[in-house]
Amino acid sequence: MTRSAVYWRIASFLVAAGFVGLWQLIANLKLISQVYLPGPDRAWAALVRGFTSGDLASKLLGTLEHMVYGWFLASVAGIALGAVIGSSRAARSYIAPSLEFLRPLPVSAIIPVAIAMFGLTQAMALFVISFGAIWPMLLATVHGFAAVEPRLYEVARSLQMSRLAVIFKIALPSAAPDILAGMRLSLTVALILSVVCEILAGLDGLGHSVLLSARAFRSADLFAGVILLGVIGYLTSLMMSYAESRLLGYRRGIR
């Protein structure tokens, strides 16, 4: 890390610390009633209590499960469907119009449909989360496949590579930067929809626990849950960055 990068890192920590300090100050001065706004000290205490004596760990696990399963399902389906659409003109002309109809559909409009079909179940959550999270990956994969350097397809032709080999050795790796960017976007969508589904369907998870805390005016627990959700979003995004830099390491030399 260069010297200026270290300074930027320090500065960003100072800003974050400043926000927490401001929050504490507002809470201490009781500008907002403590019933609604706990200070960071109380939120932190609730967080620790939740993990040591409460059921915060199992709630966290519940949300992570919803998010990861839904995201994984969306990834597999999105990349596979995107590969089919992206590599075949026929598939594109058959499937694309239907997708153009489904894509702008707000996921919130799908939730009642999913509830009617699956009930207030895990299957409903899985369906809604994957439905919402599939789009960034699907579109990124289609785009990535369409943007493969045509010269590489000629190389593949002159090597008489099979269709499967072309997809796995040329098209997929070539589309990988797009696909990974789509997966990162989808991860956020999956987290949002996990929380929404938990709130609406009462499924075990942070979303549900946050809702219950709010209804019981346990503001410290509410904030503990919200902080934890923020931490999930931050850490999963960090993991995606790490995966990207590992998988796309070959691009370091490209300037």
Partner: protein, 268 residues
């Protein structure tokens, strides 16, 4: 020493010995004839250079030889068989090496792509890759990605991948056009020695007339709109060729003059 010049080549019957044979090949793209009634025979082991003003269809002719294009009429044959699809024993070296290499694979991985396609068992690949990279002068760069290599190195790498196909014929499309003069001369000599060692047939497209004479057993010049053969020069310069003595040979200078005059006339 009476070399017949400008007379356009007749659509001669293909000699039986030809490895690559064009018989009255016409290609029409978008309603426009790109090459017209092209007949051409390349003997096994021959080094044929194709020159011509830009837009004369020399790259198109090469792509026809590779079956990346199918002729509108006429026939392209390889070893007596009609070319209906690209074949692995015909390798193409593209001019834009940066686009023809897989950026996510190392040098070794790029060579491996051809070996994988050929069905070489994984256990044998490493040895073959080492040998091929050594052959093109990249023995210490196996782990580098194309983005970490110079243009000359990337083109060497593409040549190594083409050699991995174990080709009977090598089609080269202005392979050194984007390289600086020193690198280009070095690569010219390397290609000559690689080809001499393996008796591979070569069609080499270039816009550099001296390069064509220096490398070729025969040079054909194409006329534009539509592309057709305008001149054909056998090159009887002694081999092995040498960057200094060959280029100073009076016969080299005479051929150079003839070819320059032809190109000038074709552009007029």
């Amino acid at each position: 020493m009476a070399l017949s010049a400008v007379a356009p080549k007749q659509a001669a019957a293909r000699p039986q010995s030809a490895q690559i044979a064009f018989s009255n090949v016409t290609l029409i793209l978008g309603g426009k004839p790109i090459v017209e009634d092209l007949s051409l025979a390349v003997k096994p082991g021959e080094f044929l250079c194709v020159v011509g003003a830009s837009g004369c269809g020399k790259t198109t002719a090469l792509r026809l030889a590779a079956a990346l294009y199918q002729p509108t009429s006429g026939l392209v044959q390889f070893d007596g068989q009609a070319m209906t699809a690209p074949r692995r024993d015909i390798a193409i070296v593209f001019q834009d090496y940066g686009k023809a290499l897989l950026p996510w694979r190392t040098a070794a991985g790029n060579v491996s792509l051809a070996l994988e396609a050929t069905g070489i068992p994984a256990a044998q690949r490493a040895g073959r890759i080492d040998a091929l990279l050594k052959k093109v002068g990249l023995p210490n760069h196996a782990g580098k990605y194309p983005a970490e290599m110079s243009g000359g190195m990337q083109q060497r790498l593409q040549i190594a991948r083409c050699l991995a196909q174990d080709p009977k014929a090598l089609l080269m499309d202005e392979p050194f056009g984007a390289l600086d003069a020193m690198t280009r001369q070095g690569l010219q000599d390397e290609v000559l020695s690689l080809v001499a060692a393996s008796s591979t047939t070569v069609i080499f497209v270039t816009h550099d007339l001296e390069e064509a004479i220096y490398l070729g057993d025969r040079v054909i010049g194409l006329l534009p709109n539509p592309g057709r053969i305008g001149i054909e020069l056998p090159i009887d310069l002694p081999r092995p060729r040498d960057q200094l003595t060959t280029r100073e040979n009076p016969e080299f200078l005479r051929l150079r003059r003839e070819l320059f005059d032809f190109i000038k006339a074709s552009e007029a």
